[in-house]
Structures are given as structure tokens and as C-alpha cells.
């Protein structure tokens, strides 16, 4: 019964979404007075229905109702409770239902809380939302029904991929989806504004919180995903340039550019068509991201289903959405009047540089991600990995970081280079001092980490400069947000550079009783013993670790064997200290008493994710600041 109720709710929601689209169009054409009043309630009821369907699916997973095909294929009665719950979206159909749920709930939020936009623009926005939602409803109902029954009912389920059996699963995918969907809401605003020829500061202010929120979620999702891959995969790396990682990075890059240009539009009424274009690009990237992950075109942990029919379906959706967005942009961009202009040396100028560099990085990542897919379709295989991505994006990212340090110190509309240089004197001195110190203390560093660390110190200082000489208690929250986000980038950059330059790695085959040294640590291998968990067995190493004269402590890395499906995973044991992490992995035994141990000392590696957290925190502060400020619209926006 539960499954049938869920399916019915989904169909109803799809029907309402259709009504919302055509009602919206009719209202905009001036046909049907009642239609205009219907659109908001439709969006709200629709969200309630999809949310109900999603809750019912979770209920099916919690009960392990094996008569439902999706549950049988992805769950298991012996699985821990949390993974039954999170397993509801740890698969293709469930995650698509989550996608559409988030989209509908966001639409309801727009319908409920958006009061700044003219009514017509709002209706156009909600109609655009319905158009996006319809495609995904069709995809769910026709190509990936999560509520399909299975007959005969199996005795037990096939279980969840062990790599996904991690608390990270409960957190990581929804976060990214909130980000993707938030961008699609921002895009709906852009469509609404284009349709009603209403592109201006008011539209930008309505769109900005959504862009900010989406960007915060993407930042959190990427940061959490990176840390998850780091400790779960047991390879010691924190970013692999895997297509799935790129699928989340590309919307983030586009959203970052959009976030900065929408500020120019909201504050100075400049960059109008530019901002709309970025909204189209950001939306396209989040669709490409969904496509890459969902089509099964990639063989990776994330590609739950390999099904060419679904791939084709999503590809058609993708073409319709992106093609439609670009067509609308092309048809209407002529009606967008040019906004106010500015001198090249100005805050706007720096933000244009930021946008251009972000777009260049985006294009480079996009080409590197898509190129192997195209060549494979043409019949030959190749892979593009870190050598390409690091080489092409690294230097441009560093240039971007310099722009980031400079931008906030520039005045709007017009500034003078001489004065900018004066404001940047302290950061430049710090960079010079850091360069000198690094050349003396750590000779032979590779160029990219060297520049990275050097710039991180200077940019860290520069990012706090906008707070300098201000009354900190009266500084608006969004200024704090900007400073903290920029500082977060510098902190993260410092972590990346330290990890790249100063990591120590040791790979040994050790007998119990032997001691290995890596970085400042001495690691004694005491024993390797078999242990058992709820649905796995493992070999667990006991490592006694000491550093200098400090108190020794014990680390227990495991090599796990899961029962269903039968899969082996490595559980790294990690010791976190203020100055870095000791990362230990146990490999295979050689049958003669020796075990492979892989040990890393990674100085300051935690700064990478701490920085990511700071970036997101800055976004949250800015969001709160903007929302609070916009409740008091009479206050003039002196800064932005």
C-alpha cells in the first residue's frame, strides 16, 4: 500500500506541476484572472505531495519492504538503521526523487516567502520552476520509478555498496542536491525576469539569497565529499579530478561567478545581460552535473545505474533545458538595457576579472571532463587525470586568488592604481617575506606549491583588510561574510600547498614488533588480528604511535570484508593534530607473517577542509546579513 500511495502522490504532483506551468503561461498572457491566483497555492501543494512521496519511500526502506524492487536491490534487513534511512537516496531512483523533492520544496518557499518581485515576474518564475520540475517528474515516472513492485519477493535484499555505508552518505548527496536545485531556482528567477523584461537591481536582490544559499550548499557538499573520499577510499588523496567531483566543481565555479556578478547588478545596476548569462551557465552546469552522475556514463562509485535508456532520457532533458535557456536568452537579451558603466580600475572591474578567470577555469574543467566521453563515443578510450587539470587550472587559480585579494580593496565605479597599491602594501610585503623564508627554509619546493603557500599568506592578510579600521561591531554581516569566505580560500590554499609540498609517505611490509618512521612519528606495528562487525569482518592492525617524548597512542586501521555484497574496503586510521594528520592504512598480508602498511604524515592537511568550512560560514553570514537588511529596505546600501 505504501508504495502505491507514494506513486499516486508522485503522479498527482506531476499533474499539479503541469497545471502550474500552463496556468502561469495563461496568467502571463492575460487569459484567466483566476489563474494568477492559483499559481502560488499550486506550487505549495505540489511540494507537499512530493515530500509525502519521499517520506513514504524512506518508510519503505526503514521497514525493508522487499516487495519493492528498489529496496530489494539496495537494502538488506541486517543493515544498520542509519544506512537503511540514508539508503533511500543512496541509489539512482531514490536520489532522483530527492532531487525533485528539493526542487518542489524550494518552489514552495519562493511561493510562500518572495514578496519583493512584481507579481508577474513571480508567476513567470514559478512557471519556469514547473517546467524544470516536469522533466524530472517524467524521468521518474517513465524511466526510473522508485516504487516499482517486485514479484516474487526475495528472501533478503542485495545490500548497499559498502563504500556508501558511511555517515557521509546521509549528508553529502542531499547537500549537493540542495546546491544544484538552488541554482535552478536562481535560473528560474532569471527566466522570470527575462520573460517580463524586468532585469534590474530588484530582480538581482530577489535572486541573490538563492544563489548564496546554493553556493553555501555546494561549498559544504564539495568540502564534505572531499574529506569523505580522503578518509574512506584510503588512498591519502583529497581531490582526484574524478568526473563526479568535477560535476560538483563546475556548478560551484559558475555559482561563484554568478554570486559576484549579481552583487554588481544589485548594488550598481551593472552587468545585466552578463548576470543573466551566468545564471544560464550555472544552471546548465548543474544539469550537466546531474547528467554526468545520473546517466551511468561514468563507471564510479557514484554511478549507481548503468542504463543507456536513462542516459538518453537525461541527455534529451539536458538538451531541452540548456537549449531552451540559451534560446530564451538569445531572443530576449536584446531587450535588456545596458546598465550603468564603470572604469576598468574599479570594484566592478575586479569582479569582471574574477568572472572571466572563473569562466576560464570552468571551461578548462569542462573540456577535461567531457573530452574523454566524446572520444569514447568516437571509438577510442583515453583518460584525463590530475596531470592535465593541475597543469592548466593551477596557475589560473593563483591569478584568481590575486584578483580576490585586490577586489575588495577597490572602490566602486572608479579607483586609482596608486592608492590600490598603497592599500595592498602590507599583503605584498608579507608575500615577499614568505617567498624569502620559503626559499631559505624549504629549498627545492615545486613552483605551484611554493606560489600557493606564498599567496595564501598574502591573501589571508588582504582578505582581512576590508575589516581594517572599521568599527567591527557596526560592520555589516555581509562584509564579515566576504572577509571570512576570502580568508577561507587562503586557508584552504595553504593546506593544499603544504599537503603537496611537505607530505611524507612510507610503504613497508612489516612483521609484528617492527617499527617504522614517517615524518615526526615512530610507529610500532604490534599485531594484526581478525575482528567482526555487524555486517563485515576485518583484519585490524594495532599500531602504537609516538612522537618525540610524547605519550604514545594507538591507531587501528582495518581492511574490511563486507558480507553483502561481498566487497573489501580499507578503513584508514587517522590521528589529527594541530599541525597535520598521521594517516595509516593496512594492506594485504603476504602469508609469511608480513603485512603491508601505508603511512602518511600530512602537515596542515586539515586546513583544506577547515578553509572550505570558513568559505561556507562566510556565505551563511552574508546570507543572514542580506536577509536581515532587506527587511529594512530604507537603509541605504553603502557597501556591498
Amino acid at each position: 500500500m505504501i508504495a502505491e500511495a507514494g506513486l499516486a502522490a508522485l503522479w498527482l504532483a506531476a499533474a499539479l506541476s503541469l497545471l502550474q506551468l500552463f496556468g502561469g503561461i495563461a496568467a502571463l498572457r492575460g487569459e484567466g484572472e483566476g489563474m494568477a491566483r492559483l499559481v502560488r497555492p499550486l506550487a505549495i501543494v505540489q511540494a507537499g505531495l512530493v515530500a509525502l512521496a519521499f517520506l513514504l519511500l524512506i518508510q519503505l526502506f526503514l521497514r525493508t519492504d522487499l516487495s519493492v524492487a528498489l529496496v530489494a536491490a539496495n537494502s538488506h534487513s541486517m543493515k544498520p538503521w542509519l544506512y537503511k534511512f540514508a539508503g533511500a537516496w543512496g541509489n539512482h531512483e531514490g536520489s532522483m526523487l530527492l532531487w525533485v523533492t528539493v526542487l518542489a520544496v524550494a518552489g514552495a518557499a519562493v511561493a510562500l516567502f518572495e514578496r519583493r518581485l512584481p507579481e508577474r515576474t513571480l508567476i513567470a518564475t514559478l512557471a519556469a520552476q514547473a517546467a524544470i520540475g516536469l522533466g524530472f517528474y517524467a524521468f521518474l515516472l517513465f524511466a526510473s520509478n522508485p516504487f516499482e513492485r517486485l514479484s516474487p519477493v526475495p528472501i533478503d535484499g542485495q545490500g548497499l555498496n559498502p563504500l556508501l555505508q558511511d555517515p557521509g552518505l546521509a549528508f553529502h548527496p542531499p547537500t549537493l542536491y540542495f546546491g544544484y536545485v538552488g541554482i535552478s531556482v536562481a535560473f528560474s528567477f532569471a527566466v522570470g525576469a527575462l520573460v517580463t523584461r524586468d532585469v534590474g537591481p530588484a530582480f538581482a536582490r530577489a535572486m541573490r539569497p538563492w544563489v548564496l544559499a546554493a553556493w553555501v550548499f555546494l561549498t559544504l557538499g564539495i568540502t564534505a565529499g572531499s574529506y569523505w573520499a580522503y578518509y574512506e577510499l584510503g588512498w591519502g588523496g583529497w581531490w582526484f579530478w574524478d568526473p563526479v567531483e568535477n560535476a560538483s566543481l563546475m556548478p560551484w565555479l559558475a555559482a561563484t561567478a554568478l554570486l559576484h556578478s549579481v552583487t554588481v547588478l544589485a548594488t550598481r545596476d551593472g552587468l545585466r545581460a552578463w548576470t543573466i548569462m551566468l545564471a544560464v551557465v550555472a544552471f546548465s552546469m548543474s544539469m550537466v552535473g546531474t547528467f554526468l552522475v545520473r546517466s551511468g556514463i561514468l563507471t564510479s562509485v557514484h554511478a549507481f545505474a548503468v542504463d543507456p535508456q536513462r542516459g538518453t532520457f537525461i541527455l534529451v532533458l539536458l538538451a531541452l533545458y540548456i537549449g531552451g535557456a540559451l534560446t530564451l536568452f538569445g531572443l530576449r537579451v536584446g531587450t535588456v538595457k545596458e546598465g550603468s558603466t564603470f572604469e576598468p580600475v574599479s570594484r566592478e572591474g575586479a569582479l569582471v576579472v574574477n568572472n572571466l578567470l572563473l569562466c576560464v577555469i570552468l571551461a578548462l574543467v569542462f573540456i577535461g571532463t567531457i573530452y574523454p566521453l566524446i572520444t569514447e563515443a568516437l571509438g577510442y578510450k583515453l583518460s584525463i587525470g590530475p596531470p592535465y587539470f593541475n597543469l592548466v587550472t593551477g596557475p589560473i587559480a593563483l591569478a584568481l586568488v590575486i584578483a580576490m585579494a585586490t577586489g575588495p580593496l577597490l572602490r566602486w565605479r572608479r579607483d586609482r592604481l596608486k592608492e590600490v597599491a598603497r592599500r595592498l602594501a602590507v599583503p605584498i610585503l608579507i608575500v615577499a617575506a614568505a617567498l624569502l623564508a620559503l626559499l631559505l627554509l624549504a629549498p627545492g619546493m615545486r613552483l605551484l606549491p611554493l606560489f600557493g603557500l606564498m599567496l595564501a599568506l598574502g591573501v589571508g592578510a588582504a582578505s582581512l583588510a576590508p575589516l581594517w579600521k572599521r568599527n567591527l561591531r557596526r560592520t555589516p554581516l555581509f562584509i564579515w561574510g566576504m572577509a571570512i569566505s576570502h580568508l577561507g580560500i587562503a586557508v584552504s590554499l595553504a593546506g593544499m600547498a603544504c599537503e603537496a609540498a611537505f607530505s611524507r609517505e612510507l610503504l613497508v611490509a612489516a612483521r609484528p614488533g617492527e617499527t617504522a618512521r614517517v615524518g615526526p612519528y615512530a610507529i610500532r606495528f604490534d599485531a594484526a588480528d581478525p575482528i567482526a562487525g555487524p555486517n563485515w569482518t576485518a583484519i585490524e592492525a594495532k599500531l602504537t604511535v609516538s612522537r618525540g617524548g610524547g605519550e604514545p597512542f594507538v591507531l587501528r586501521p582495518q581492511a574490511r570484508m563486507f558480507n553483502s555484497p561481498p566487497t573489501e574496503t580499507s578503513e584508514a586510521a587517522i590521528a589529527t593534530r594541530l599541525d597535520g594528520q598521521l594517516y595509516t592504512v593496512i594492506g594485504k598480508g603476504d602469508g609469511a607473517g608480513r603485512w603491508q602498511l601505508r603511512l602518511w604524515w600530512k602537515p596542515f592537511v586539515t586546513l583544506i577542509w577547515f578553509g572550505g568550512g570558513l568559505v561556507a560560514l562566510g556565505g551563511i553570514l552574508a546570507l543572514i546579513g542580506r536577509l536581515r537588511r532587506e527587511r529594512r529596505p530604507r537603509l541605504e546600501e553603502a557597501w556591498a
Binding site: A363, Y371, I384
Partner: protein, 147 residues
């Protein structure tokens, strides 16, 4: 900048940036893309030296052996052809790596034909087969471009 021309300037800048990115990507791809070779490809095209490549095939049963250091392994990769590739790898191979099972490795060839693997890819599941060896996808070709 003249007021009137600002939009045009921005448009040109954006086009220049994207074009620049495409050119940069193309030139970097020429050097940095790792092409995929099966043993038969190597026999036909010769050794791809001086560049990072991927090889794939089946770990030949009985070919896996360990060096005395306990962390370096040697094995042979075969496919349906009579050819094979000898591989050396220093590290912990992924959990699914075993004899008579599919493998994809990334690394470089030495002049003598020995493949020095820097990474054995772990991204496939226990059912994974390289396309050549998978009867269901028998028509799939893995030709190489890097000639």
C-alpha cells in the same frame, strides 16, 4: 573606455577568455591525456614511450609474484591476443586486484617493454571486465590515438 562600448568590450573579453581556455586545453590535452592500451594495441602500434598511459586486460593466472621487500609486485597482463605486458607496481593494490581478474593500470612503459604502474585503478566492482574481454560488449574497440 567609452560608455557606449562597454558592453561590446565585455563581450569581446568573454569570447577571448573562453577561446583562450579552449586553446590552452587543447594544447595541454595533447601532452597530458593518458591513452588506453590493451596488449594487442602495444604489439600493433609499438611502445608508447615518454608519456603516461593506461593499460588494461586480465591478470594472467600464475604470473603474480612479490619482491622480497614485500610491497613491490610483478604480474603479466594479457588479452585475447597472444601478446602480453609485464607490469611492476609498488604499493598496495586495490582490494579487487587478483589473478584471473580484470585490471586497469596507469603508468609508463620502460624501453625494454616493462610497464611501471603508478596506480592500479580501484574504481570498478567485482564484475568489471575490460571492454575487450567482456563478451557482452565484444564489438567495443579500444583503439589508440597516440601514434
Amino acid at each position: 573606455v567609452k560608455r557606449k562600448n562597454q558592453r561590446l568590450t565585455l563581450l569581446l573579453l568573454a569570447i577571448a577568455a573562453v577561446l583562450g581556455a579552449v586553446l590552452l586545453a587543447m594544447s595541454a590535452l595533447k601532452d597530458q591525456a593518458a591513452y588506453f592500451y590493451a596488449p594487442a594495441d602495444v604489439a600493433r602500434d609499438g611502445l608508447p614511450l615518454e608519456r603516461s598511459v593506461r593499460i588494461g586486460g586480465m591478470v594472467k593466472p600464475g604470473s603474480l609474484r612479490r619482491e622480497p621487500d614485500g610491497v613491490t609486485i610483478h604480474f603479466t597482463v594479457t588479452d585475447e591476443s597472444p601478446h602480453s605486458i609485464r607490469v611492476r607496481f609498488r604499493g598496495i593494490p586495490p582490494d579487487l586486484f587478483r589473478e584471473a581478474s580484470g585490471v586497469v593500470a596507469e603508468g609508463r612503459f620502460e624501453r625494454g617493454g616493462l610497464f611501471i604502474a603508478t596506480e592500479i585503478l580501484a574504481k570498478h566492482d567485482e564484475n568489471y571486465m575490460p571492454p575487450r574481454l567482456d563478451p557482452k560488449k565484444g564489438e567495443h574497440k579500444s583503439e589508440s590515438l597516440g601514434k
